[in-house]
């Protein structure tokens, strides 16, 4: 573990704990390049002893924006095409014919987590960890052809069949990355009809409430910005996502337009330029064995907590910024760990604008000093670095204490673990015309009178097994059948035992009505797609499923719980 002093200096000199006796970072890196390994802890490699890595030794990667292709061969169509996995036909295909096409290859590739660790094999979308960032606009339907090029005879954690879920997407069931819709060139899951080299995911890029407001591509108050995509293969989601199959997917509309110089007076003009002043940050924890290879415990039934903190695939990187505003989109991409991050300068916690939660802009920005994220939650903030002089160094610090897959401790640690060092090193190239307006996005009122049904979901553990309402996930059994367009209240009750369950419901956002009878905190008063249900907590959420029908899932986003059957299938019925 790295050391960190309150004034931000790097701490004591390095200790060398390499089993291989590498005496310097250069030697270790060279070794890694000569013999990439598959990431399997072998005899003698000690687990739980991640080697020391020098903090802030590597720059923060900014995942490339995914570029579209002019055509796909064979051309995409409503029904599963030749060579495609046996999916159901795309519903509403003719209404939302794709205007933009993408081709992605999920494949094994070499990745360097840190210059002092061996370069090693991971699984990534286009071979990248995190995967490329998709940037799309509402009203522009797209299609993503996802090739599965993962090695069939792979040895070690992870299973090479995949089903890609766009988390937060308002998408038809057959394009949602259903857990049973996993495929490879030779195998297919229980809800598909045949194997295939690829799977076409149709993203209409409409908002919820399309059928009531087609002219605006749906209800503009249902807009989501920061989405992420990751694998969702039944029984192996934790390992596959941990091995690298995750990336960002960002959406823009006329309001959150992605142009800080937008002449449209209705545009928010938040800091813009994906990879320039609009920065996605994938926060993840990982563990390495004593030889520096990525380690995952396939046998822990309770969760997996790592030791190293990574941002965008690198351990404790640094990021150079100009003296102006930046938008940071943080996503908790971990299997089991919570994050509670602070921004510190000279040992003091800094304020920033908290503008979005789970990809949804709040009605008004909150002034905050920390962001707490359960697994799969996202938080967007705006930091104004013009407050700091050139040469200033700030740290994004995590203060959660969590050694236990059960969940975070109540007490935080201080100063905490630095995840990212931010160096203010230049004046902005042009005047900073971005702003954080006082009003961000209106919130649709919750109409409780419209609720037709209340359902109760008890999250329990018994006999080492995770259950929702006393049952286990069955991809072919429907556990709830909400009617399209008919609002419901879902009561999420945590049965206790000290477990924390971030519950994710697919297809639509939820509005938290109460936590144990009390209103939720300010940052949770908007829309969310992950609701953390703490020990013994009861959370009531309002939800309505619109525009599509078919099978979806809801599950705990502790991906190990998810893999141990803590999931339900629910279907939207007409």
């Amino acid at each position: 573990m790295s050391s960190f002093l309150p004034d931000g200096s790097a701490g004591p000199s390095r200790r060398f704990v390499f089993k291989l006796g590498a005496a310097s970072g250069v030697a270790a890196a060279a070794y890694g390049l000569l013999s990439p390994k598959s990431g399997n802890a072998k005899d003698g490699d000690q687990v739980g002893r991640s080697p020391f890595t020098t903090p802030f030794a590597v720059p923060l990667p900014l995942p490339a924006v995914k570029q579209p292709v002019a055509a796909l061969d064979p051309p995409p169509q409503k029904e599963a095409g030749p060579g495609e996995a046996g999916r159901l036909p795309h519903q509403r295909w003719e209404e939302f014919l794709p205007k933009t096409l993408y081709e992605v290859h999920a494949r094994e590739a070499l990745h360097s987590f840190h210059p002092e660790l061996p370069t090693q094999l991971i699984w990534g979308f286009d071979g990248l960890l995190p995967g490329p960032t998709f940037v799309n606009r509402i009203g522009n339907p797209v299609l993503v052809r996802m090739y599965n090029d993962l090695p069939a005879n792979h040895i070690g954690f992870g299973s090479p069949e995949i089903s890609t879920h766009l988390h937060g997407g308002h998408i038809a069931a057959e394009s949602d990355g259903y857990a049973g819709d996993f495929y490879s060139p030779t195998k297919f899951g229980p809800t598909l009809t045949r194997a295939g080299a690829y799977y076409d995911y149709h993203y209409p890029n409409i908002l919820a409430g399309y059928d009531d407001s087609p002219a605006t591509f749906g209800d503009p108050r249902e807009m989501k910005g920061t989405l992420w995509y990751h694998d969702h293969r039944m029984d192996f989601t934790a390992a596959n996502v941990y091995k690298g199959l995750a990336g960002f997917h960002l959406l823009f509309d006329a309001i959150d337009s992605g142009n800080e110089n937008d002449p449209n007076p209705a545009a928010l003009r938040l800091p813009s330029g994906v990879g320039q002043f609009d920065i996605p940050l994938m926060l993840q924890d990982k563990k390495f064995d004593s030889s520096g290879m990525l380690f995952f415990d396939q046998f822990d039934p309770e969760g997996f907590v790592g030791e190293k903190m990574l941002v965008n695939g690198k351990i404790q990187p640094f990021f150079k910024v100009a003296r102006r505003k930046y938008r940071f989109r943080m996503c908790n991409g971990s299997a089991t760990r919570f994050f509670q991050v602070y921004l510190t300068f000279q040992g003091r916690d800094q304020e920033f604008a908290y503008i979005a939660n789970d990809g949804d802009l709040l009605e008004a920005p909150l002034t905050a000093q920390h962001v707490r994220l359960g697994m799969a939650e996202r938080g967007d903030i705006v930091v104004d670095f013009s407050r700091y002089p050139i040469g200033a160094q700030l740290f994004l610090v995590d203060r959660i204490v969590q050694d236990d897959p059960r969940g975070p401790d109540d007490k935080l640690q201080n100063p905490g673990t630095p995840m990212l060092r931010i160096d203010v090193d230049r004046e902005p190239p042009a005047p900073d015309n971005s702003q954080v307006p006082a009003k961000l996005r209106a919130l649709a009122p919750v109409d409780l009178v419209s609720v037709v049904r209340t359902r109760r979901f008890e999250l329990e553990r018994g006999n080492g097994q995770w259950q929702i309402n006393g049952r286990f996930f069955d991809p072919e059994r429907i556990d709830a059948d909400p009617g399209r367009g008919r609002p419901e209240i879902w009561v999420l009750k945590n049965g206790g035992g000290g477990w924390w369950h971030p519950l994710h419901i697919h297809l639509e956002d939820q509005r938290i009505l109460s936590r144990d009878g009390r209103p939720p905190p300010p940052h949770e008063r908007g829309r969310k797609d992950v609701t953390v249900v703490g020990p013994d907590e009861e959370v009531r959420v309002f939800i309505v499923f619109r525009d599509f029908t078919g099978k979806y899932v809801a599950h705990c986003h502790n991906t190990v719980h998810e893999d141990h059957a803590m999931m339900i299938r629910w279907d939207v019925v007409p």
């Binding site: 399997n40 072998k42 005899d43 003698g44 005879n153 792979h154 040895i155 070690g156 954690f157 992870g158 299973s159 069949e161 195998k187 297919f188 899951g189 229980p190 039944m234 029984d235 192996f236 396939q298 046998f299 822990d300 039934p301 309770e302 236990d404 897959p405 059960r406 018994g462 006999n463 080492g464 097994q465 286990f472 069955d474 991809p475 072919e476 059994r477 035992g497 000290g498 893999d563 141990h564 059957a565």
Partner: protein, 193 residues
């Protein structure tokens, strides 16, 4: 089983723990050679097996669950459900798919007791019940991931795991699922590994 063998078995279980626990891994080991102990166990048919070499190692599908013969709440439905799984998998069980049940009460569940349990349920060949020294069985259980971090829950036999551990050691691919899933669902997941 002869008195002498029974004595040796219980003596080994009670006394000579250290050598068994750190027994040398097989000379040609797969990915989990250093992970699972190569403990000497006994099957319900009275055969001796080494846990890593004979039970785990190799390019085959293995399915583990935990039980004990005196269990009255979880084990009867689990065993009955897994029997249906065995039926559905047909001839593959014993050929490239192997089912194993490990006892949580090795002191009481002798091979003979396990044989009686297997016979009672009509368990067919290819599904083996295993017993051994208490410490070996406990270590194996933990290595397989059948544990609760809460020591009270972990020690409470009535709350023992209802999951099955499924895997292929040569591919080092492992997953876990409830024993009481629909048998077809369990079979579907296993054949896709």
């Amino acid at each position: 089983m002869s008195t002498k063998r029974m004595f040796l078995k219980s003596a080994a279980g009670a006394v000579a723990l250290a050598p068994l626990l750190v027994s040398a891994s097989a000379s040609v080991g797969g990915p989990r050679a250093g992970y699972f102990p190569n403990a000497a166990l006994q099957t319900h048919e009275g055969r001796k097996v080494r846990f890593y070499d004979d039970v785990v190692k190799g390019n085959k599908l293995v399915i583990f669950n935990m039980m004990y013969t005196a269990c009255t709440n979880i084990c009867p439905p689990d065993t009955a459900n897994l029997l249906q799984v065995q039926e559905m998998l047909g001839e593959r069980v014993g050929r490239d798919i192997f089912m194993y049940s490990l006892t949580l009460q090795p002191e009481l569940d002798t091979p003979a007791a396990l044989q009686a349990y297997a016979s009672k349920y009509g368990v067919k060949p290819g599904w083996t019940f295993l017993t051994g020294g208490r410490d070996d069985m406990d270590l194996i259980r933990r290595k397989l991931g059948f544990y609760d971090r809460n020591p009270q829950v972990d020690a409470d036999l009535s709350r023992h795991t209802g999951m099955i551990r499924v895997g292929n050691e040569a591919l080092d691919r492992w997953c876990m699922m409830p024993s009481l899933l629909r048998p077809r669902q369990i079979v579907d997941a296993i054949v896709r590994l």
